[in-house]
Symmetry: C2
Subunit: 310 residues, 2 copies
C-alpha cells in the first residue's frame, strides 16, 4: 500500500503553478502518479518534452478519470469552465480543488459543476513568481508558504476526512495549511494581495505615461523604490484581470479606503502638516517590524538592492 | 603625494548613509582622513565605540575645518541648518555636498549658507535600506548604485574641476555618477522614489486600520504582495516627512496623475471592463521586462519569497 496521500493526481492547467504542483508532487512523493491536461497544444507539447508528467491529455475529463485528486490550476475565470469540462471524468470519492486567488466565486462555480460524491474543496497557495508557463515552475515553490483551504458546507460524512487528505497533500509539498471561510479569504487577500497588485499596476502605468521623464530614466533610477512595484506589476495579466473582476466587491471596498487615506495624505503634504506625515510613517515602520519579528521576512537590509530567492 | 581623491573628508550626520560613507571612504581609500560630526551624543558615542572615524566632533564647524570635502548626511530639512552651523569652519577650495533625496530646496539652502570660494555641489546616492543609525551602515552600500550630482550655476572657473573631483570620490566608492539639473532630479525622483514611498506608507496604514481583518492575518498572508510594501514603508519617518514637504510640488503633481489613473482603473473594475484591465497589465509587464533587459534587476523569480542582498 502506498504511503503517498494521493494515488493519482490530475493537474488541469500547466502554467507556473500547475507545473510547480506536478514537479513538487513527484519530487516529494505526494502522489503515485501525476497526469496533466492543458487546453494549449504548445503547453502540452512542452510538458511532454520536459517529461515531468506520467501522461498528458487534451481533454480534461480524460485526465480526471481515475484521479482521486483533481486540482484546477487555471486563471480564476477559467476555473468554472474547466470544472464543467472535466466533470464527466470525475469519480465518486474524488476531491476537486483549485489554486485560484479568489475563492467565493470560484467555489460556487466548481460546486455547481461537480457530480454528487465529489468533495469540492477550494484552495489557494500563496506562492508565485512574476513568470508564467510550464518552464517557470519549480518543485520548492510551496515550501514554507501558506496554502489556504476553504471547505464548503457539506452533508457528506466523508467530507472532513477529504479536507484532511487534501491538507496532508499540501503539507507533503512543504506548505503550511490554514482553513478559512471563502468570503473571509477574499477579504483578507483583497488587502494583502489584490490591492497591492492593483496599486503596483497603476503606478507603473502612471510612470510610463509621463512626459518630461523618459522610460530610460525611470528604469535607471528605479532602485529608489519603483523597482519593487515593477516586479509585482509584471504578474500574469489574465490571471489578475480575473482576480479583480471576480473579487470586485472586496477590492473596491478596500480600494475606497485606500483612496480616502491617500487624499488625507495628499492634503497633509499640501498644507505642510509634517507631524501627520511623521506619525503615519512611524506607525507603518512599527508594522513592518511586527512582520519581521513574526518571522515572515528576513531583517537584512535589502531595499534598493538586487534580490534573489533564498 | 596621496592618490586619494580627498585628503580630509568631513561627514556631518552619521546615520545609515553617513556611517556608510565613513566606512566606504576608509575601506576604499577615497580619503586620507575621515572625521564626523553628529548632533546626537548617543550617535557620537556609538561612532567612537565603533572606531570607524579618525575624529568625532559635536560642533560641525570643527569637523569642517581643514576638510576639502564636507558631505551633509542629514534628513533633507536639516541640511540647510547643518550648512549654516558648519559654515564658519568651511575653508576656500572646499567642496560642500550632501546626500538628500530632494535637491532643489536643499541646493538653495546650502548655497545660501556657504561662504565664497566653497563649491556647493548637491548630491544624491540612490541607495539605502530600511534601517537607520550608525550601526546600520556598511561599506558596499554605494557599489554599482547611481549617485546623482546636481552642479549649480557658478562663476568660479575652478567649479568644473571640483565637480570632477566629487565625481571621482563617488566612483572610488563604487558608485556610477550622473550629472543632472536639480529640478529635473526632483521630478525624476518624485516618480521613481517619492511616489512609491508615499503609496507604500499609505497602503500599510490602510491595512492597519481595517476592522474584519486582523493585523496577524495581514502579516501571515503578506507574501501575496503586501510584504514588499511594508519594507518600503519601514523607511526613516523623519527623512521621508522632509522629502514630501520639500518636494511638494513634484510629488503632488505625480500623485494627481496616479490618482486619476487609479480612478479609471477602479471604474473599469466596477463596470467589468476586463479588456482595459488586461491591456494595462500587459503593458506594465513589458515595462518590467525592459528593466530586467537593461540589467537593472536580476530576472530570477522571487516574488513572495524572502530576499537577501547579493
Amino acid at each position: 500500500m502506498s504511503a503517498a496521500p494521493v494515488k493519482r493526481l490530475a493537474i488541469i492547467g500547466c502554467g507556473l503553478i500547475g507545473s510547480s504542483l506536478v514537479r513538487a508532487a513527484r519530487a516529494k512523493g505526494a502522489a503515485d502518479a501525476v497526469v496533466v491536461s492543458d487546453p494549449s497544444p504548445e503547453v502540452r507539447a512542452r510538458v511532454e518534452a520536459l517529461g515531468i508528467a506520467d501522461a498528458v491529455f487534451a481533454d480534461p475529463a480524460e485526465a480526471a478519470r481515475g484521479a482521486d485528486l483533481v486540482i484546477i490550476a487555471a486563471p480564476p475565470a477559467a476555473i468554472g469552465l474547466a470544472a464543467m469540462a472535466l466533470a464527466p471524468g470525475l469519480e465518486p470519492g474524488a476531491i476537486l480543488s483549485d489554486v485560484g486567488s479568489v475563492k467565493g466565486a470560484v467555489g460556487e462555480a466548481m460546486a455547481a459543476a461537480a457530480p454528487p460524491g465529489v468533495a469540492v474543496i477550494p484552495g489557494h497557495p500563496i506562492a508565485g513568481t512574476e513568470q508564467s508557463g510550464p518552464d517557470a515552475g519549480f518543485p520548492s515553490l510551496f515550501e514554507n508558504r501558506w496554502t489556504i483551504l476553504c471547505p464548503r458546507a457539506s452533508d457528506d460524512p466523508a467530507y472532513p476526512a477529504q479536507v484532511e487528505r487534501l491538507s496532508a497533500f499540501w503539507r507533503t509539498l512543504g506548505a503550511q495549511v490554514e482553513l478559512m471561510d471563502e468570503r473571509h479569504h477574499d477579504l483578507v487577500l483583497a488587502v494583502t494581495s489584490h490591492l497591492p497588485h492593483l496599486i503596483a499596476y497603476n503606478i507603473v502605468g502612471t510612470a510610463d505615461d509621463l512626459e518630461g521623464v523618459t522610460q530610460g530614466e525611470v528604469m535607471k533610477y528605479s532602485a529608489g523604490g519603483f523597482r519593487d512595484f515593477t516586479r509585482i506589476a509584471a504578474s500574469d495579466p489574465v490571471m489578475w484581470r480575473d482576480v479583480f473582476l471576480l473579487n470586485k466587491d472586496a477590492v473596491l471596498e478596500i480600494l475606497g479606503r485606500f483612496t480616502e487615506d491617500l487624499h488625507a495624505l495628499s492634503r497633509a503634504i499640501r498644507w505642510g502638516e509634517g507631524d501627520k506625515l511623521e506619525a503615519l510613517f512611524t506607525r507603518t515602520r512599527a508594522i513592518r517590524r511586527g512582520i519581521v519579528a513574526a518571522g515572515q521576512e528576513s531583517p537584512e537590509p535589502n531595499f534598493g538592492r538586487d534580490k534573489k530567492p533564498v
